[in-house]
Structure formats: C-alpha cells, structure tokens
C-alpha cells in the first residue's frame, strides 16, 4: 500500500567512496588514489510506513546504501537525515536513541547468529545493550512475546535452543525477532530470504508484511530478485554502478520501465509460465569496473537506445553500432588479426564487419548476424556515405597496423550526449529517472529513437 506518510529518511547527494585515502605505496610512487564509487551522489526519500525496494546487479552499491542508512558506514559526502536529524551529527544520547530506532536484518541467518548463544540470549542481547526492560522477568517476557510474533510459537521450547538446532526459516525468524525486540521504526533488510528455500521463503515474506502493520515499521528491502521486490515493495529504486537510475511506485516501474537499464533488467527475468512470450534483454557486455566507470551515463556503453547526435542521418541502430566500433578501437578491443583470419574477402570489409557486430540475443540481432560469429554485413545498417567513409578509413588504418591513426580518424566522431553528460534525475510520468531520453521539463515528448518494442 503506497501511502504518503511523512519522510522518515532523507538522503541528499550521498556518496560513499572506498579506498579514497592514499596508501603508502601510492605516496611513494606519487599515484593519486583511485577510489571505488560504491554509492555516487544519491538523493532519496523514504516515507514513513513505506517498503522501499532497492534492486540492481551485484556491485551496484545497494548493500552499501543500506549500511549507510544504519550507520555501519559513514558517507563520504552528503547528508542522511533520519526523522529530520542529520545522523552523522548526533550527540551520544541521540545516537543511542537512533541505534534503537534503526535495525538491520542480514542476508545469511547461518552466519548472522552467534552459534554459541541460545535463541534467548541472542534475542535478549539488544535489550541489555540498550538498557531496556526493568528486570530479567520483564525481558524474558518481552523475548517470548516477540518470538511468538515472528511465528515461533509457543516460544518456550525455542528459548534454549542453539542456532544449529534450527532450520533456515526458523533462524531467519530469530534474526527478525532480534531486530524487532527494541521496537524500531526503520529496518534495513539486506537480501533477507535469498538463503532460504522457496517453500519457506513465502512464509518469511508474509511475516515481514504482517509485522510491518503490527509494529508500524518502515522497511528498506534490498534484493537482486526482482520478483521479490515486485511482491514486497511499494516503491522501487533501481541502481546501476552506484547511481540511482530509476525510482518510483513499484507497479509502474515493473509494468512500464522508463530507463533502458530497468527494461533490460526486467526482460532478463525468466517467466514461470512456460507459454509466456518473453523478450531477451537487449544489452551488450557486462557491468564495467566500478573503479573506472564510463563517462556520462554509466550505462551508455551497454545501452540499446543510446542517443545519436542531432546531425546523425541514419538509424539509431546504425549509430549504436558505429559508436561501439569507435569504443572498441579506442579501447583496443577490436581483434584485427582474428577478423582477417576468419574472412575471405577484402581485409577492410572484414574488419568493418567484425567491428560493427554486436554480441546480442538472436531476436535483437540483424539478419545474418549470428551470436558468436562476430560478423555483420555493414550494408544492412544503411550507413550514410560520410559515416561509412570514416569507418572505412579507420578500418584501413587498423589493417595496416596504425592503431594510433585509427583512433585519430574516429576522434570527435559519433559523440552521444549519453557519453558526454551525466544525466541528472528527472521526472518521467509517475517516477524519476536518470536518462537523457526524457527531457527535463516535458517528460513524455521525447520518445526513444528506434526503440520499436
């Protein structure tokens, strides 16, 4: 149920950089530190009573974001406000209050519970640390009550058991009880069910929903599994390489993704209905190294709807491939020898055919382009004369082994706004997205060029 409660958590331009300090070797060698931008300039608001989902591939910064919110990490830049107060600027008393109001549930209940403590000891520990409850009897009653709330009823037989005597589902329930016993307002759940079996999973998820009502909780639900996000969350945030790329009500994000990355992500989820027609994700390559992320929009090297410059005359598909050709030449990724070995015709044609090919699922390939074959017929792209000439010149230089000249040839050609400028968050319909396809003022007027499906 999406509700418009008051903002509970507000992030403003929050960044977290790892390895930002200069080590001894770096100092001696005079190297600048090259930090990993795990979370980069994220602004986000979580309302009271909401379940906010964070989704993305591994390494996108979703867990780091979660840990920032419970202050397991300090932000490098930006401010995080909890209930109106900046959490990096709290007095001791305020801090202990904050620690009570914010809790975290970890991914793996096989690791997160101390194997030498009984269930009772584990669940009671937060009460002792926070000095809650008047007497032992009082605390014990509270522990039993919470255990019954999380579905371990009757609680009595569980109290003296050790984690190894419990099943995975029971352990995760103990971990939830441990988070809830201090009566928090906000709980960060980091992949809470990914270690549990399918038949157990639904029980834990439903329990979390029930407890939300009962305890008046706000959740941050981190998961790589989009179907779980779809089931649990009111609002969803999609992250890619430390950036928030899309954010909005879950149903809208799932039904009609705006950002090309979100679309690819949802396309890639297998469908349980065996008769469902499904499109494969139209992306190339893998997630780049976060130490050295691409310029502009982080997603542009993989994106299927990269925006051609205004003076581009051909199709968007042609631009995408010409752009990839240039990118490969600049990075030195284009294997000229291999192209020459494979082909029978003119060397320049062979290099061009290889350089313009993309490794895509069959439904997104051009006619005659086979995955793994790395070759495409350039005439299928209808390149304009100028463009073809530029590409041919570059290919010629490559054949002659002048890699530097080939780069010069392509310098300044095929430049996309996606590569130049980092898109800021803008509104598109009911949600916010960071993509140049959507104009800053008028969200719907600019359609994706060439994106027919």
């Amino acid at each position: 149920m999406a509700n418009d409660g008051d903002p509970l958590i507000e992030l403003e331009n929050v960044s977290k950089l790892f390895g930002a300090t200069q080590g001894v070797t770096d100092q001696l060698l005079g190297r600048e530190p090259n930090p990993v931008r795990a979370v980069d300039d994220v602004s986000l608001t979580i309302n009271q009573g909401d379940i906010m989902g964070i989704a993305g591939e591994s390494g996108c910064g979703k867990t780091t974001l979660g840990k920032l919110l419970v202050r397991l990490h300090e932000p490098t830049h930006g401010t995080i406000k909890f209930d109106g107060k900046d959490i990096s600027d709290l007095s001791n008393e305020e801090e202990s209050e904050f620690r009570k109001r914010v809790q975290m549930i970890f991914q793996d209940p096989f690791e997160s519970l101390n194997p030498r403590m009984t269930v009772f000891q584990s669940v009671m520990e937060p009460l002792e640390i926070n000095d809650m409850g008047d007497s032992y009897r009082d605390r014990r009653e509270r522990v039993e009550e919470v255990l019954e709330d999380v579905g371990l009823a009757p609680a009595e037989p569980y109290l003296d058991e050790f984690p190894k005597e419990l099943s995975g589902g029971e352990r995760q329930r103990v971990a939830i009880a441990r988070a809830l016993i201090v009566n928090p307002d906000f709980v960060v759940c980091d992949e809470p069910v990914s270690m549990l079996d399918v038949s157990i999973r639904a029980g834990v998820l439903n329990l979390m929903k029930d407890l939300q009502d009962k305890y008046g909780l706000t959740y941050l639900f981190i998961s790589h599994d989009l179907s779980l996000i779809g089931y649990m969350c009111d609002r969803t945030t999609i992250m890619y390489l430390g950036d928030v790329v899309e954010q909005g009500p879950t149903t809208d994000v799932v039904q009609d993704p705006k950002h090309p990355y979100t679309k690819a992500l949802f396309d890639a989820v297998p469908e349980i209905d065996p008769e469902a027609e499904r499109h494969r994700a139209n992306v190339t390559g893998e997630v780049p190294n976060p130490r050295n992320p691409p310029s502009g929009c982080r997603f542009h090297p993989r994106c299927s709807t990269i925006i051609p410059p205004e003076d581009w005359t051909g199709s968007q598909e042609a631009f995408r491939r010409a752009f990839q050709f240039k990118r490969r030449v600049v990075a030195g990724d284009l294997d000229v020898e291999e192209a020459l070995d494979d082909a029978s015709g003119e060397p320049v044609d062979a290099v061009l055919a290889r350089g313009l090919a993309l490794d895509l699922p069959e439904e997104h390939s051009l006619p005659g382009e086979k995955s793994g074959a790395h070759s495409v017929d350039p005439s299928a792209l209808n390149l304009s004369g100028d463009v073809e000439r530029t590409l041919r010149n570059a290919a010629e230089q490559l054949v002659e082994g002048n890699h530097g000249n080939a780069k010069t040839e392509l310098d300044g050609e095929f430049v996309s706004i996606c590569e130049r400028e980092h898109p800021d968050i803008r509104t598109a319909g009911t949600r916010e997205t960071a993509c140049h396809l959507y104009g800053v003022e008028d969200a719907e007027s600019v359609a994706a060029p060439g994106a027919s499906d």
Binding site: E170, R201, A202, V254, I272, A281
Partner: protein, 381 residues
C-alpha cells in the same frame, strides 16, 4: 531416441552407522537433444542424482541399487563403427545390453573415466570456482581434450580450444589468461566451453546460473539453448529456480526428500500440476510480470533423510494427508488415467506422472490448494 534410462536408482550416504537416503528409487529417461530439469529445494537429492551418473559422489556416497543405461560404451569395447562389439554384448561380465546401452552404475572407477567428458560432461555448481587459478584457462581445456582424445596433437587441441571459446562469446586470445582475469559471466562461459570440449552426448548443468546476475543469466541460458541446437546435446539441468526451469526445459521432474514427486513434459507439470508439493511450490513463488496474488508458504520444513520413515516423504507438510500416506511412499501414478478417476502406476517414464495416493481426486486437490487456509492447518513446531 532414448539417450539415458535410469531405473530405480538409489543413492546412500553413510553417516556413522546410519545412512542418508539421498536419492530413493528414481526412474526416468531422457531423449537425445532434450533438456531435462531436476527441480527441488536444497537437500532434496537433485545434485546427488546428477553427479551419481558419472560417479562423482563424495567419498561416503554410493549407488545402493538401480541401473543407469546410457546409449554409448567405452572406447575399448567398441568396434570401428562406434558400436559395442558383439562378443561384449553377449558376454555377461560386461554391463552392455542388446540395444548397445551400457549400465554406468556397474562401471568401476577406471572405466567411468572414459565416459566422463567424452559422453557425459559436467558443468559444476559455482563454476566461478571450478577453474584452476594457477593454469591458463586455455591450457585447462587442452588438458581435457588430450586426456579423452589422446590422438589429438597439442596444436589441434589449442585450435579447438580457441574455437570453443569464441563459440561461447569469449575472445579466443583470452585462452592465454588466468581465471582471475575473467569476469563472472566469462568464467561461466569458459566452463561451458570446457564441458563441450569433447562433444559429449549429455551435459549435466548443476545450478548453471545461480551465482550470476540476472542479465548475464539471461545470456547464458540463451547460449545453452543455442549450443544445444548446434551440437544436438542433451542437457540435464539441476536447479532450485523454478522460473529458470520453466524457461529452458522440455521435461521436468520435481524432487522432494530424495524422491520424484512429479515428472513429465514441462507444460503439463506447470499447467496441470498434479502433486500437492508442486501445487504448494507454485503458491510460494512470486512472478514479476503477472498480477500478484498473495504468496502462501508450505508449512514445516524439508525432512532429514537419515533413515526416513517408510511413508510419503511429504506427508508431514501435506494438507491432503490420509491414512494410506503413512504406509509407504506412493509410486508414480499416471496422471492422464488419474484424470479419469483411475489410479494406475505409470509404465512409461516420459509421461506425466505424480507420486500421490490421492491422484485420482485431482480436481479437489487443485481447487483446495489455491486456498490459503488449506496450507495453514498443519503448522507445527
């Protein structure tokens, strides 16, 4: 044509003086070029079953009974046409049948090595860790080719290795790199290339995409499908992820507690599920695009398989339990006769089968299983 026929296979792990019944009386068969899925929760015996086909069980595991007939034989028993020789078939000391199939369960450790990779290749679970970190990726594939096809020269093997890598979408030059220089998706592709090195008849893929991100998973599944088309290889996929199974399999078996609960063509198993466990599993699985109804979990937790009770393995958690369920685990009944109200044991391992005594009351079970309250009655400690 049938490639693999598994009859009444049982596998035990010895633990002290007890034994874990990891796989119990499983019967199924696979056609050439087909993808067969084994789906189930952790500890249901699906990986054990896959690995037992090529004798890759842990030291305390053993095949306790049953037959594994594969349509191939050892090179030393073959004639020039690749068929088993007449005298081998007729001699009782060799486990070779009239139709040319060999019983893998009876081969010893030395003999099974000729089957591994040449006929059956394994893509292990967490392929991320399956590559040796101190050898170049290409050299590992060359090693496999040369072990199983000793007549191949190093140069030929090297060329084949590079072709294989290119085939799965890796730049052939990367054969000279080490595993740590590969990304997760590339390692997975390299392991697939390695499994395909000797052009096997059967590929066992144990959780082939579990550690991968969803977009890479999508590409790897696509890759597997293409390879299958190109090389006409059969794939036995082991996974806990029902939606991955729905995507790639032709035939499917749902396992629970070491037993097959339901098996048959994919669409039938999914759309006309006929076993309480399958029905429960479907209730507890969220989908991303369809309209979401509330998830319902199956109460209780999976059984331990240490000397289990004789009754149906699922009985403790099953809302449809009757007295008969406690007597012995139900055999696999034929679903199409059950729909006419008859309870007949299935004689064909390829048809839609379900192990449930109440299979003749299918309609009632299906209706009841969609109701949430059905699953709440048996909640226990």
């Amino acid at each position: 044509m049938t490639l693999l026929e598994v009859n009444d296979l049982s596998i035990r792990y010895d633990v002290d003086d007890q034994s874990v019944h990891a796989v119990d009386g499983v019967t199924f068969s696979m056609d050439r070029g087909e993808t067969y899925g084994l789906v189930g929760e952790s500890g249901c015996g699906k990986t054990t079953l896959g690995k037992s086909l090529v004798h890759l069980l842990d030291a305390n595991g053993r095949i306790d009974g049953g037959e594994i007939w594969l349509d191939a034989t050892l090179p030393r028993w073959e004639n020039e046409q690749g068929e088993p020789r007449r005298e081998i078939i007729e001699d009782d000391q060799y486990p070779v049948r009239e139709d040319g199939k060999t019983d893998l369960a009876q081969l010893d450790n030395e003999q099974i090595r000729d089957i591994r990779w040449r006929n059956i290749a394994l893509i292990p679970q967490s392929a991320m860790n399956a590559l040796n970190p101190v050898y170049k990726v290409g050299d590992q594939i060359i090693e496999a080719i040369r072990r199983h096809e000793p007549q191949t020269s190093v140069e030929e093997a090297d060329e084949r290795t590079r072709d294989l890598l290119e085939r799965v979408g890796i730049d052939p030059d990367r054969a000279d790199d080490y595993a740590h220089q590969f990304s997760g998706g590339m390692k997975q592709r390299a392991v697939i290339a390695m499994a395909m090195a000797c052009n096997p008849d059967l590929l066992i893929a144990d959780e082939p995409t579990t550690a991968l991100d969803v977009i890479i998973q999508d590409r790897i599944l696509d890759e597997l499908e293409e390879l299958q088309e190109e090389f006409d290889v059969s794939i036995l996929v082991v996974s806990h992820d029902i939606s991955v199974m729905a995507e790639i399999c032709d035939q499917l078996a749902v396992m629970y507690g070491g037993k097959f609960m339901e098996s048959g063509p994919k669409t039938e198993v999914f759309q006309q599920s006929s076993n309480p466990y399958t029905l429960g599993l479907k209730n507890s699985f969220p989908t991303v695009k369809e309209k979401q109804t509330d998830l319902v979990s199956i109460p209780g937790s999976p059984p331990t398989l240490l000397d289990p009770d004789p009754g149906c393995r699922f009985a403790d958690r099953c809302p449809f339990e009757i007295e008969e369920c406690g007597s012995s685990h139900p055999p696999m009944y034929d679903v199409s006769s059950a729909q006419d109200g008859q309870r007949v044991e299935a004689d064909d391992a390829m048809t839609h089968r379900s192990a449930c005594y109440r299979v003749d009351e299918l309609e009632t079970m299906r209706t009841e299983a969609t109701k949430e309250e059905t699953w709440q009655t048996t909640e226990t400690h």
